[in-house]
Each structure stands twice: as C-alpha cells, then as structure tokens.
C-alpha cells in the first residue's frame, strides 16, 4: 500500500477531532512543568546581572549561604564545564563564541546569570539571591547594530562584533539596477519582541539511579546532551522530559531553566524546582531580532522585477544563540515569493550588549516580509499598477529558480491565496467620520518549513499494536499546544484503523522515546508526521498478510478501519485485537520503529549558492484599517488570511494556527515593543508589554488552500510559523493605502503614524 492509495478516501485526516491533550486542557487536569512537586524538593533561583556590560570584580556568597533554609549557592567556579559553544549553523560561517552557564569575570547583558541558589522555600531562595553580593565595574557597551559595527566600537567578544555575514548572489545586480526602468528604495526597521507565552519558563529536576532527570517546559529534549557536557556527565546519565508547554513560540528552543536546574540538582542531590517570575522572563529570556533592512528593487516599465539588492543587519545581542540560522533564513527568504533574476543579499548578525535574540516564530523569514512587500507596494505606486497585478506578474512558479540556484519543485499557489484573502474582506469600508481615513492592504509571503537542509534532518517514531487491539505511539516530539502529538494520532489512525480513543501518544522523553529532533522550524508535522506515516504503513504492510490469510483475501485489498481489518466490500472482518493475536502466534512483530529522513543538500557560504530549505508554505493576508488623523490611532476593521497548507490534517487546528499567528503578528505590527535603552530592558512588568487582548483586534477570517503538493505527510505543508509573517506588511500596506505614506518602522504606533501624516502634510505644502 502506498500513500497514493490512502488518498482515495480519508476517514480521520481532514477531520477536526478534539482529542488527546485537548481533553485534559479543557478539564484543567494537564500538568505543566511548574505543576510537579517531589518530596524534599528545593526551590531554585538565578542571580542576574543588573547592568549590561561590566567586569565582575568581586563575588561574595557568604551572607546568602548563611541564611537559614539555603542549601546551595553556586557560582561559575561550581560549573564543571562553564562554556557552552553552540554553532547554530553547524559551523558553516559563524564565529565560534562560547556562552558561560554562570558569568565568571564579565557580564555582557542585563539579566545575565551570575549565580544560582537553592533553598527550602521560594521565598528563602528569593531572599538569598538578593544577598549574593557582586561587585561590578561597568564597561562601555554597544547597544545597536550601527554602534557595534563602527570603527573602534567596544568589543562584546574579543573575536569581533560580527557574528556571521551571509551572502547570496545571482546574476548581475549592479547592471540590472542600472538598466531598470524604475528603482525603488526603502529602509525598514523592526523591534525587539517578547514571546510572552503565558507559561513562564519552569521545570523540576531530580536524581534517580544515577541519572539526572529534568522535566521542563522545553521545545528541545535533545538539550540533554549539552546538559551532560556542562556537568561532565556521560550523555546516558541525563534525561530530559518535555512537559506539554503553555506556549513556546521559539522562546523555549534554547535552554532556559535547564542548565541552572541541573547544576542545583547535581550539587544538592535533591529534587529542585525552578520557575522564572514573569518579570525575570521579561528580563532574561531571548527576544526576536530587531532588523535593519535596506532594499533596492529594479523593474521594467511593465512591472517585471529585474533586480533586488538587500542588506539585512540583525541585533544578535550578547551571545550567538540561534542568530546565525535566523539571519540565514532571512537571507534565503529576502526576496519573498517573487522571481528575482539578479539578486544580491547580505545578512549579518551583530553582537551588542543587549539581551540575546534567538528563535521566535518566523525566525528571520518573517521580518523580511515587511521589506519585500513594502518594495512591491512602492513599485506598484511608482508604475501606476495595481498591487495585485504587479504581484501576479512576478510570483514564483514551480520550476523557477531561487537566488540560491535552487529550483522550486512543488507548486506555488500564492496567487490563489491572494485572491481568496482579498475576497474575504468584501466591500471596502468607508471612514466612520471626519478626520478618519480608511485603507486596504495585503501581504504575501514565502515561509520555509523544515530545518535548514544541510542538517540532514531525521525523525523517528515507534508504533505498537497492543494485544487488545489498541495502539501506542512513541515519539520524542515536544508539544507547544498546536496539536503536535494529536496530529500524529490522526495519521496513525488513518493508516491502521485504530479509533482515536484507542491510541495513546507518548512524547517528549529523551530516554524512552525515539528522537524526533525538537519542535521548531515548523518541522514536526513534516518530520514526525512523515515518520509516523511511514511507521504505520510499514507496520500495516507487515501485518496485512496475516490478516489476509485469516480473511481469505489479498493483502492489497484489505481495509483498516473502525478498529477492524475488512475484506473487500466489507463482507468479513477481524478486530485489530484478533490481528494482534494472530501476529503473535506467527511470531510477526506488532511493534515497529521507523526513521524518516528529509532530503539533504549543501550550501556554499562563499558563493552563496546551494540548498537552503526543503520547501515553503505560501500565503496572503489582507486587511482593512481606519486611521485617525488626529491621534494617529490605527483601527483594524477586518482581517483575512489564506495559506496553502498542502493538506489540512486537522482543519480546525490549521485555522487556529493561522488565527493565532495573525494575532501575534498584529501585536508585532502595532503595539509590541520590548524597548531596550542602552542595554536596560524597559518593560519590567507584564503590564508594560502590550500583547493583544480580546478587544484589540477583530476576528481573523481564514481560508485554507489544499494544493496537496507539500512534502509533509499526505502532501501537507507546515503552518506553525508562516501566518505570523504577513501581518506587519499587510497593516503597513493598508496604512499606506489610507494615508499615502509608507510606514517603515515597527511597531506602527500612533506617534509614528502621526509623524508619517506630518511628512505627508509637508510634502503637500
């Protein structure tokens, strides 16, 4: 049996059952990372630097250690291996810079961990942390990318302030720009953004049989290897269990509580719980990279784009984290869903003394949407073409080359998503009164799913048909709340015919489940979905001859459904329990491990040519806004989003991803700003960081295209990250349409919109 046979009729795929974790979630019975307690458990707390750049000249833990109830106060000297080297691009092009688990002699950002404390109550741990006395001799720092790149700038790390600079080139950009009928230019700036998952970073750790186990809120259980390295332990002695997360959005892709929790457990030999305060999370967690993007785009008079030059600079903050890969994704996606025959793209990550930037839903490929879509709108305006006409003229198609020299080998339905998104808006709105202007905007995107191709990605899954006919799935996948585990159940149910209620899904355990490689890069439906699909097909293929023999039918003609195996025309059947028993009697295994491998390739950082991502998800958002010319306030009146998801495994969950992504994008576009002034984080309270509430924005209308041509299971494309990408560009496009001036800086606050209205006024005079 092949996947194409399956596609004749789906029973479970394409439906929207609310099963698995969602039942416990509405009951309130799911146990998140902070919800575990163990006997004798201590409470951990991190001591953080109050200054962004300083030398540590003294560190005294005497008073903290003397406080009754304090069990341990640890500093850099207590960390067996205090240097974490993470080469996010696999060492392809970045500087090798290490990050300490606890700062020893130098702090490079406000919030950097300096010491950790364990005590018998959270209150005592808090008090002890205050008693750790650290002397700081402040050093000059650099706080934005321009200052960091200036001659003689203070160095964040001795090796230099430029972490990585990617280049992608094709054709002759200078020549094509010189020959272009029109050239439009723009500079676009984006801000630091907070993930603001509602569940703060948390976990519990303990020792058992010589194994250090951490049960934490993490996207990546594979960090077990790094924790082992830090403690100088064999990798077999560290186990990481991922609790179902209360949101992550990339912010739980790097380690958060893990290294400090592990240290405290290892030193105290007792269970320890660590929960970051919200305020600590605001201060110490990674952020979305602020970008400065300079675009020059050339086109013929008929609107055909001939050249694009892009320079991207991202603020990496004080340590590398995942910046090399974020800036790579930005480079690979900088030209969007458009054919650009001559392109020159540079994408640079720069160290500053700001809190580190790292993964955040969209991962570099989302910031650039504001750049390329703004350029398209400016070009349309200059040429007197409609925005949709210009886009249709330049959309990529299957078989086209990207600037990296890769050929697109799946369909590009972006034009269809554009028509459908705009179609959902209906008639354009009229201003609600004097001093109000309305406008309509759109934004298209091309967003990768799956890891950067040179990592030769793989994911494993293990299935077992139990003696009673029920099914187990074991996978190392971690679950952010997007149905990562539940969708695996739907795929297995489709192939093996076990009812969803008879399937149990075990996830997120580095010791007990086959590795799935972490939940990030919109990769888990693609990777683990394929792993489960193939494991199920292979297991079915092994058991089918046994069923065929019992039913007197051909193995190829059997139907697995409703907990039974059916002969053709559903005349006779056996239960899955009977099949399991028959397999057992004939020594045919009913458990199966399968590893699925993504396509592989290589990228040459010198030529900027090669393979980048396995495939892309395309989509378009459209919005109507009203701008109050007195206050600069932008009201979003209607919002619509359409993406080609290849195949919707669970349409309701797909809608949820699109609606949630769009809402996060609206916050990014209009209200959210994790302002950092001279290295000092300004939003010390959650009350000061404005994520959208239920009143701020309208419902997000959703339409789904199912082209059936993705590389995920059954033709699916990933949808976790893509829908956040279009939003800022869409709102900027709508404001542009309303007021005639293009916003180029995020967030588009009332103050900034008023300033744009002023420039319009002065131009008219």
């Amino acid at each position: 049996m092949t996947t194409s046979d399956l596609q004749r009729s789906y029973r479970v795929v394409g439906t929207s059952p609310a099963h698995h974790d969602f039942v416990d979630k509405v009951k309130g019975s799911l146990h998140y990372a902070a919800d575990w307690q163990l006997p004798g458990m201590l409470h951990g707390r991190v001591v953080r630097s109050p200054v962004p750049s300083a030398r540590i000249t003294g560190l005294d833990v005497t008073a903290a250690r003397a406080l009754p109830g304090v069990i341990a106060v640890l500093t850099a000297a207590d960390v067996p291996s205090n240097q974490v080297v993470e080469l996010a691009s696999g060492g392809l092009a970045e500087l090798q810079v290490s990050m300490p688990v606890l700062a020893a002699d130098r702090v490079r950002y406000m919030g950097e961990p300096v010491a950790v404390v364990a005590a018998v109550t959270p209150q005592i741990a808090h008090e002890a942390a205050e008693l750790v006395a650290v002397d700081y001799e402040e050093l000059p720092g650099v706080f934005d990318v321009t200052a960091a790149r200036a001659d003689g700038a203070p160095l964040v790390h001795e090796v230099g302030n430029t972490l990585v600079s990617w280049q992608i080139h094709c054709g002759d950009v200078a020549g094509a720009l010189a020959a272009a009928d029109v050239v439009v230019e723009g500079e676009y700036r984006t801000q630091h953004v907070e993930h603001a998952y509602l569940e703060p970073e948390a976990g519990v750790g303990w020792l058992e049989n010589g194994v250090l186990t951490l049960r934490v809120s993490t996207q990546v259980i594979e960090h077990a290897a790094m924790i082992a390295h830090i403690l100088g332990l064999p990798q077999s002695k560290v186990r990481v269990i991922a609790a179902y997360m209360g949101g992550g959005f990339g912010g739980k892709e790097d380690m958060t509580v893990e290294p400090h929790l592990a240290l405290l457990v290892w030193h105290t030999r007792r269970p320890v719980r660590m929960i970051w305060d919200r305020q600590e999370s605001l201060l110490g967690s990674t952020k979305r990279h602020p970008f400065v993007m300079r675009y020059r785009t050339g086109a013929d008079r008929d609107g055909t784009i001939t050249a694009q030059q892009v320079e991207i600079i991202g603020d990496a903050g004080a340590y590398p984290n995942l910046s090399p890969r974020v800036l790579f994704a930005a480079a690979a996606c900088a030209c969007g869903p458009y054919r650009v025959p001559n392109a020159s793209i540079t994408s640079t990550a720069v160290f500053t003394n700001n809190v580190p930037s790292s993964a955040f839903r969209g991962f570099g490929a989302m910031q650039v949407v504001l750049g390329y879509e703004s350029q398209l709108d400016l070009l349309a305006e200059r040429l007197g073409l409609s925005r949709t006409e210009l886009r249709e003229r330049n959309f990529l198609a299957k078989g086209d080359l990207l600037p990296t020299g890769e050929r697109l080998d799946t369909c590009v339905e972006v034009a269809q998503t554009m028509r459908r998104a705009l179609g959902m808006l209906g008639e354009p709105p009229r201003p609600s009164g004097p001093g109000k202007l309305t406008g309509r905007g759109l934004g298209c995107n091309r967003h990768p799913y799956g890891r950067t191709i040179w990592f030769r990605d793989r994911a494993s899954a293990w299935l077992s048909l139990q003696a009673d006919g029920t099914l187990l799935i074991r996978s190392g996948v971690t679950d952010l709340g997007a149905g990562q585990a539940a969708s695996l159940g739907q795929i297995a149910a489709e192939v093996l015919g076990a009812p969803l209620d008879d399937i149990s899904i075990y996830i997120g355990d580095s010791a007990l489940n086959p590795p799935a490689g972490g939940t990030f890069a919109t990769r888990q439906l693609y990777m683990s979905g394929n792993a489960v699909l193939h494991a199920a097909l292979e297991l079915r293929g092994r058991m089918a001859p046994v069923a065929a023999d019992l039913l007197g039918a051909s193995a190829d003609d059997l139907e697995f459904a409703d907990g039974r195996v059916w002969a053709p025309a559903r005349e006779v059947s056996i239960t899955l329990a009977e099949l399991a028993a028959a397999c057992d009697k004939r020594a045919v295994g009913t458990a199966h491990l399968s590893t699925w491998r993504a396509e592989s390739g290589s990228f040459d950082p010198r030529t900027g040519q090669g393979d980048t991502f396995p495939d892309y998800t395309y989509g378009t958002h459209a919005a109507d806004v009203e701008v109050d010319t007195e206050t600069g306030q932008v009201t979003v009146l209607r919002y619509a989003a359409c993406h080609d998801v290849g195949r919707a495994i669970n349409p309701m969950r797909v809608q949820g991803q699109i609606q949630g992504g769009a809402m996060q994008g609206l916050g990014y576009a209009l209200t959210e700003d994790m302002a950092i002034e001279e290295g000092y984080v300004q939003a010390a309270l959650f009350a000061n960081y404005l994520i959208p509430n239920a009143q701020d924005f309208p419902d997000v209308l959703v339409d789904i295209v199912e082209s059936g041509e993705g590389k995920g299971p059954l033709g699916a494309r990933g949808i976790g990250e893509p829908p956040i990408g279009n939003v800022a560009a869409t709102i900027a496009s709508a404001i542009h349409d309303a007021i005639g001036v293009r916003p180029d800086r995020l967030p588009m606050t009332p103050e900034r919109v008023l300033a744009l209205l002023d420039t319009r006024g002065s131009e008219q005079q």
Partner: protein
C-alpha cells in the same frame, strides 16, 4: 513568619490550612492543595491564568491573599466538572470549538466567561471581548474562544 489557620472552601470541599499572612490564594491553591488548574502567569493581575471564582465572582488568585478567601466559596475550573469528570457544557464548547491550544489560559477564560453568561444571559460578542480583557491568550487569536462562549450562551 506569622502563620494563621484558615478554612478554605474550594470546589465544595473544606480545607483546614496554616498559611502565612502574605501567601496568595494562587500559592496556596497551586502549591499547597496541588490544584494545577490555577496557574502562575505574571503575578501582576494582568494575564488572568490564576483566575478563580470567589463567591461566584472572578478574581486573580495572584492578587488575592489566602486569608482574604477564608470562609468564602472558591471555585476553580475543575470544580465545574460533573460526576466522572463529565465536562461542563461550557468546557464542551471549548473542546468542540478548538478554543484551547496550549491550554494555559483555558481555566481563566472558562471561569470569566461562565460568570459573564450567568450575569447577562446572552452577551454580545463585543461584551464577551470586554469581559475577557483580563484574560490573555497568546495562542488562539481569541476567535475560537469567542465562538465557544457564544455557543454556550446560546444553549
């Protein structure tokens, strides 16, 4: 630390407890009574993940001292479940509509909505939005939460 003995009535059960005067209702429910459906999200009364009903009215557990709740009726979301953990009709609507993603905000959303519908009968969508301003969600974009609450109010 000054400890005092209080009786908390949570989901129709009495609990005799020693608490510190400074202990929040959230701390006591989550850490002392092990109620995982009352959650720390911000400690500032902004996010609403620690919402419980105090004598039927939604309050933030992080801004309420345990001693203030002594003798009052406290309801957490799990208190809505029927015999055999049967879902409350509002929880059914949340499940059917896909109104939970990560699920962390769900208890607060459900309790706030339940109070609103009890008070107003059939709130408009805009009234529901207004009532939920103190309950943040970072995953769903709110649409499916609003759909679930409207469906429940129509029952």
């Amino acid at each position: 630390m000054n400890q005092c003995q209080i009786t908390l009535i949570v989901n129709d059960r009495d609990y005799e407890l020693w608490v510190a005067a400074s202990d929040t209702l959230l701390d006591v429910l989550h850490d002392e009574l092990g109620m995982a459906d009352v959650r720390y999200g911000c400690g500032e009364g902004v996010c609403g993940t620690c919402t419980v009903l105090l004598d039927g009215e939604p309050v933030n557990g992080c801004l309420t001292l345990a001693v203030q709740a002594a003798g009052h009726q406290v309801t957490t979301m799990r208190g809505l479940l029927g015999p055999g953990e049967a879902l409350h009709p509002l929880q059914e609507c949340f499940l059917r509509r896909g109104a939970s993603q990560c699920g962390f905000c769900t208890p607060g959303m459900v309790l706030t909505a339940l109070d609103l519908v009890r008070r107003t009968g059939r709130p408009t969508r805009e009234e529901i939005r207004y009532a939920l301003v103190g309950n943040l969600c970072r995953c769903t974009g709110y649409t499916k939460i609003l759909d679930a609450i409207e469906e429940y109010a129509d029952l």
